[in-house]
């Protein structure tokens, strides 16, 4: 009985570990958010500025939110694998197995069996990207709509791609830029560096466009509802009735579908670039 109670307490603590970071992030945003006047589409809110060489380090909303996502995902991992047994006795173990199996299959199909070590990396990209985008449903600033966040991932992927290309030897790597004819060299170099840039801009642009459209629609609906219901007395007159419900429909596309789609695309491109960059297995 005491063993069971202990397990329950750990479960509750882990669930708290998943929920509390988001609550803190929301609280931080609510405390710091200035009163909005009119339509303003800006980047992430800066909470703290630390002077650093080259450039100041900004601790922004995006950083805080992605840290919250990481802590929550750590809590989720621990929660899913807590009390794992050979004979499954909980639904969460089924979920954990499902996740591991699906990601392993995805990696195995797209990269081949020798890249199975990339399964946790791909899972990390999928989880971080998807949950970052989905955090906008909590009213948070989605970290993926900050270019710096996505650029960091894309650069890491670029480093990995280059690492695997260099595995085939330095000379074949350099020679690869002069193919099919040496005149193509500048285009090949641009194409090489276009990979991380296109990856980051694609992801960031998609999520940001959703945020922009959601903001515009929200303001437009507020204006329309003011026009239609402005004659009502008191607070009812300024209450934006049309903002109830309609933005949720857009949110299904821009937050859920687009967020998960971009996470999947980013993970897919990562796998394909790395697998094709690596020298053929001999």
């Amino acid at each position: 009985m005491s063993e069971k109670t202990k397990a329950r307490v750990i479960d509750i603590l882990l669930l708290a570990m998943i929920i509390v970071p988001f609550v803190l992030a929301i609280a931080l945003k609510v405390v710091n958010k200035p009163v909005e006047e009119g339509i303003s589409i800006t980047g992430a809110m800066v909470y703290l500025t630390i002077p650093m060489p080259l450039q100041d380090l900004y601790i922004t909303e995006a950083q805080v939110n992605s840290a919250a996502v990481i802590i929550a995902l750590l809590g989720l991992c621990l929660y899913l694998t807590h009390g794992i047994a050979v004979v499954p006795n909980s639904k969460r173990q089924v979920v954990a197995e499902w996740v591991v199996e699906k990601v392993s299959n995805l990696v195995g199909e797209n990269m081949g069996k020798r890249f199975m070590g990339f399964a946790p990396f791909v899972a990390a990209i999928l989880g971080l990207s998807a949950f970052s985008s989905l955090s906008s449903m909590l009213g948070l600033f989605p970290p993926t709509s900050d270019m710096n966040i996505v650029a960091g991932w894309a650069i890491l992927v670029f480093v990995l791609i280059t690492h695997y290309k260099l595995k085939g030897g330095l000379w074949p790597y350099i020679k690869g830029f002069f193919e099919p004819i040496p005149v193509f060299m500048p285009f090949n170099v641009i194409g090489e560096f276009a990979t991380p840039i296109s990856m980051s801009f694609r992801h960031y642009g998609n999520v940001l466009s959703g945020v922009v459209i959601a903001t515009l629609v929200a303001h437009a609906l507020q204006a329309v509802s003011k026009m239609l219901f402005g004659w009502l007395p008191g607070i009812l007159g300024s209450f934006p009735f049309l903002r109830i419900g309609i933005p949720a429909v857009l949110s299904i596309y821009f937050d859920i579908f687009s967020g998960c789609m971009q996470a999947f695309i980013f993970a897919m491109l990562t796998m394909l670039y790395i697998a094709t960059g690596a020298p053929a297995e001999d």
Partner: protein, 167 residues
């Protein structure tokens, strides 16, 4: 409150985000994939063990069945042999008994015949003696004088033989 621009590049933010992804990769590796993979391996091992045990018991059962069948066959053979042996023994014994009985019977018969023969001879010789005595006494009576039995025994015996041969 300060806001970043919509498009702003900050190398430190980029670096932090890169490290964040690495950290999350390690988190996923150590807290999700490793335990699940370990558990899956254990499960696989267990299933293999169960299959091996099942195979083992099946082969053991088949062995036992074969042994049992062999034993049954040998037992049947043995039983057949025993019965055959018993029959043979009985046959032999009965043959021996019959033979012994036969021999005993023939022996007895022979003995009896011998006895009869002996007795017959005894009787005959007795009778002969009687007759010779009788003959001698009759003859002595007829002749009127003593006939020496020893002297005339040869005649008497001759006579009796002749008598005996034509009863």
């Amino acid at each position: 409150m300060q806001f970043l621009d919509i498009i702003s590049v900050n190398i430190w933010d980029i670096l932090i985000s890169l490290i964040n992804l690495l950290i999350l990769f390690l988190v996923f590796k150590h807290f999700l994939f490793k335990p699940v993979q370990k558990m899956l391996d254990q499960r696989k091992q267990q299933v293999e063990d169960i299959y091996a045990a099942a195979d083992e018991s099946r082969t053991a059962a088949e062995d036992m069945k074969q042994q049992y069948e062999e034993k049954m066959a040998t037992a049947r053979e043995e039983a057949d042999g025993l019965v055959r042996n018993a029959v043979q023994t009985a046959q032999r014994r009965s043959d021996a008994i019959v033979a012994e009985a036969n021999s005993q019977a023939s022996h007895l018969k022979q003995k009896a015949e011998e006895e009869i023969e002996k007795e017959k001879r005894q009787m005959l010789s007795d009778v002969r003696g009687e007759i010779s005595d009788l003959a001698v006494s009759i003859a002595s009576k007829v002749v009127g004088r003593e006939i020496n039995a020893d002297d005339h025994q040869g005649y008497v015996d001759d006579f009796i033989r002749n008598v005996g041969e034509k009863p």
